[in-house]
């Protein structure tokens, strides 16, 4: 049972504030991923929780008790880094057993715990090897084993698979997820890779320039981004964002982008949901799969011309020119033959997002 809470945490490196008033509550057994670009403060946050970094203001609570004044060793938290940091002169067995040496456990107890962890991580046959004789993936398994064997209150992982090649990364990611389901310990995982975050997390915490942007499940973060930063950070290809003006016509609302003469048709309900923002500085956000295209003209579809087509195997990404703006649409593979083709496009209102361009915040419109 481990809950972790951050209350009003601030951290400066000299004059630079790297964590700004961070508040976050992590439940027992939860798998939390801190996601952001390099320099966003995610690693500093993780290190602060581990006790490897002091904080300048605020509280860090583990199971309700403030721990910000405790040393790392007294917080009972295990950390796994990108660089494996194994003892090169010790065997895998000794590396895993090492954290238990300081405990008062008997030799046979230690032995059974090392072997059980090794079994979980499928490295039982490597126990006698030296780290130098291991592959990158196996080294990271040993590092995780060494963290797990202590049965810590929480597991903190800082880009643990960032240094591995793509195939191995995928395998290890699956293993980490499965291990978490099996062992069920509170975990905090730092990465800049949004697919990793989406695939591992119960909840994702997105940070940018030391400020928390959004906390939510992978689905929430993807389909209800809180602001423009999150909208464009999560998802690939990136969400289309265009300055938009909203007008009202006889039966519907119309959203025009890139100065195009005709707008995309939206339900009238949009106007009331924009709640007075319709006249202001607005941006329309739509993911490529929310731009619907067809070959024949149809009610509500605007004529557009295709530009570049990117075949990506199972689907294509097609650039469409709308006014002065480019919207990217996701189509089935081979739907468009090439640039310069006439298509008809509309924006699916149920997948559209509206942002205040000044603050970048989502207006929370859902149709």
């Amino acid at each position: 049972m481990t809950q972790i809470e951050l209350r009003g945490v601030q951290k400066f490196f000299g004059a630079v504030q790297v964590i700004k008033d961070l508040n976050l509550k992590i439940d027992d057994n939860e798998f939390i991923v801190l996601l952001g670009q390099s320099g966003c403060g995610k690693t500093t946050t993780l290190r602060a929780i581990a006790g490897l970094e002091t904080i300048d203001q605020g509280d860090i609570l583990i199971d309700g008790k403030p721990v910000q004044h405790l040393k790392a060793a007294d917080r009972d938290i295990a950390m796994v880094f990108q660089s494996f940091s194994l003892y090169p002169h010790m065997s895998v067995y000794e590396n895993i057993a090492f954290p238990l040496r300081a405990t008062r456990k008997s030799r046979s107890e230690i032995d059974s715990e090392v072997r059980s962890v090794a079994k979980t991580l499928q490295i039982s046959d490597l126990l006698t090897r030296k780290p130098s004789a291991l592959s990158g993936g196996d080294m990271q398994r040993v590092a995780i084993g060494r963290a797990l064997v202590r049965r810590p209150k929480a597991m903190l992982m800082d880009e643990p698979i960032g240094a591995l090649d793509a195939k191995l990364r995928e395998e290890m990611r699956a293993e980490i997820k499965r291990l978490h389901i099996k062992q069920g310990s509170t975990s905090i995982y730092v990465t800049h890779d949004q697919i990793e975050a989406m695939s591992l997390a119960d909840r994702i915490v997105i940070m940018h320039e030391g400020v928390l942007q959004q906390v939510g499940t992978p689905d929430e973060v993807y389909s209800q981004p809180a602001n423009l930063f999150v909208a464009q950070f999560v998802g690939s290809p990136v969400m289309n964002v265009a300055d938009a003006s909203v007008t009202e016509n006889a039966s519907a609302a119309s959203v025009s982008v890139g100065g195009a003469a005709t707008g995309f048709e939206f339900p009238r309900a949009l106007l009331s949901k924009l709640n007075g923002h319709a006249g202001g500085q607005l941006a329309l956000g739509i993911r490529p799969e929310g731009v619907l295209v067809r070959h024949e003209a149809a009610e509500g579809f605007l004529p557009v011309e295709t530009q570049i087509v990117e075949p990506l195997g199972s689907f294509d990404i097609v650039d469409l020119k709308v006014g002065s703006k480019m919207l990217r649409a996701r189509t089935r593979s081979g739907f468009v033959s090439g640039p310069g083709e006439r298509l008809y496009a509309r924006v699916d209102p149920s997948q559209a997002h509206f942002f205040d361009t000044a603050s970048g915040k989502s207006l929370g419109v859902r149709l």
Binding site: E170, K177, R178, I195, S236, E289, S333, P339
Partner: protein, 361 residues
């Protein structure tokens, strides 16, 4: 105008054979991508075209003329590398002007000015012209390096992983920019990468290089849908094609380890697909479907969430295979599910050679 042909090119470095029997034909104005892993021989090929490396055997022809005796400068090619090599103390403008300044070019100042302005406009770096290059972001620096190639109006652009050092979002943006640029200039591009997404999305043609040999050349569509062998099948596509050992019995694919069976349609059957012959069945993840009434039972081993869709790894005994499912499909790890495949989309490879039965003749 530049039509590049490599004929039977081999290159050895000491005992190491970097390239063997390489044939390539790159049409004028074509965007040709050479795709391969580290050590496949991509960069060596590029350097041979550039004239920085002499082939041990074979010919390089530019517009039909053997250029064996031409130096790098005479070949009039521009090289853009992953590591942008800009002069740090110069402004962007000076960096762009530099390749045009040598006396032998004897370009009038007005012409230089015009070319720099045009390159800057094409690459959208006009606002950066008076900035020192050490104050640019990675993406801006790479645009300037490409600009330095453009101003020279070379016959051929050779690009060696120019996007690899950039972060994912920037790579995505520059991919389309580069493709756009190539179309505008109508120039011949030879682009080298290990990233299959870059190859698929930018190339008019893709050549897959493996251990110094070209395995397959074709449009991205051909390479993806009709891979020549299991190497190409597993290298192109993300996630890659599922490859499962088995054999044909009547019109069913019988998988060896677990003996699960799936139907094969007449469309997928090729000559040579005889009953009992050891085969590898290839199926793309988007052609594997989860359905309650489907013939095979599996456990969910892993779920990769892409937002727009999920890639589910299924486990049947020791066999893993992937299926792409819509984002709204609810799947949990270790949940039992049933799956089928699209029997028209199955590609069959010979087990021993790995070559697709469609390509074997």
């Amino acid at each position: 105008m530049a039509h590049i042909q490599l004929k039977n090119i081999s290159k050895t470095f000491g005992n190491h054979t970097a390239l063997s029997g390489l044939d390539l034909d790159i049409g004028d104005g074509e965007f040709f991508v050479l795709l391969g892993e580290t050590g496949a021989g991509k960069t060596t090929t590029l350097r041979i075209v550039a004239g920085l490396e002499k082939p041990t055997e074979g010919q390089v022809l530019i517009d039909g003329i053997d250029v064996a005796d031409w130096g790098a400068a005479e070949r009039d090619v521009a090289l853009v590398l992953q590591q942008y090599s800009l002069y740090p103390r110069y402004t962007v403008r000076q960096n762009l002007e530099f390749p045009l300044k040598p006396k032998i070019r004897r370009l009038p100042d007005a012409e230089i000015k015009d070319r720099v302005a045009r390159a800057a406009r094409t690459l959208r770096i006009e606002h950066l012209l008076d900035r020192k290059t050490d104050r640019l972001s990675g993406g801006e620096m790479q645009r300037v390096s490409i600009g330095r190639a453009i101003v020279r109006k070379p016959r051929v652009f050779l690009m060696d992983e120019p996007l690899s050092a950039l972060d994912a979002k920037l790579r995505e943006a520059l991919r389309t920019e580069l493709k756009n640029l190539q179309m505008q200039l109508g120039a011949t591009f030879l682009f080298v990468t290990h990233d299959q997404i870059e190859a698929m999305s930018m190339g008019d043609k893709v050549g897959v290089l493996h251990h110094g040999r070209i395995i397959q050349t074709g449009t991205p569509h051909e390479i993806y849908n009709n891979p020549r062998n299991t190497y190409v099948a597993s290298f192109v596509g993300s996630p890659p094609m599922n490859l499962i050992d088995g054999k044909l019995v009547d019109d069913r694919a019988v998988m060896a380890p677990m003996n699960f069976e799936l139907p094969i349609s007449g469309g997928a059957r090729t000559s040579g697909a005889t009953d009992g012959r050891p085969l590898v069945f290839g199926i793309r993840p988007e052609d594997v479907h989860l359905e309650s009434g489907a013939p095979v039972e599996a456990k969910v081993h892993d779920v990769e969430n892409h937002g727009v869709e999920k890639i589910v790894t299924l486990r049947v005994g020791d066999t893993m295979l992937r299926a792409t499912v819509p984002a709204r499909t609810a799947v949990a790890i270790e949940q039992p599910v049933r799956f089928a495949w699209n029997p028209d989309k199955v590609v069959m490879f010979d087990k021993a050679s790995g070559v697709s039965l469609r390509h074997a003749s």
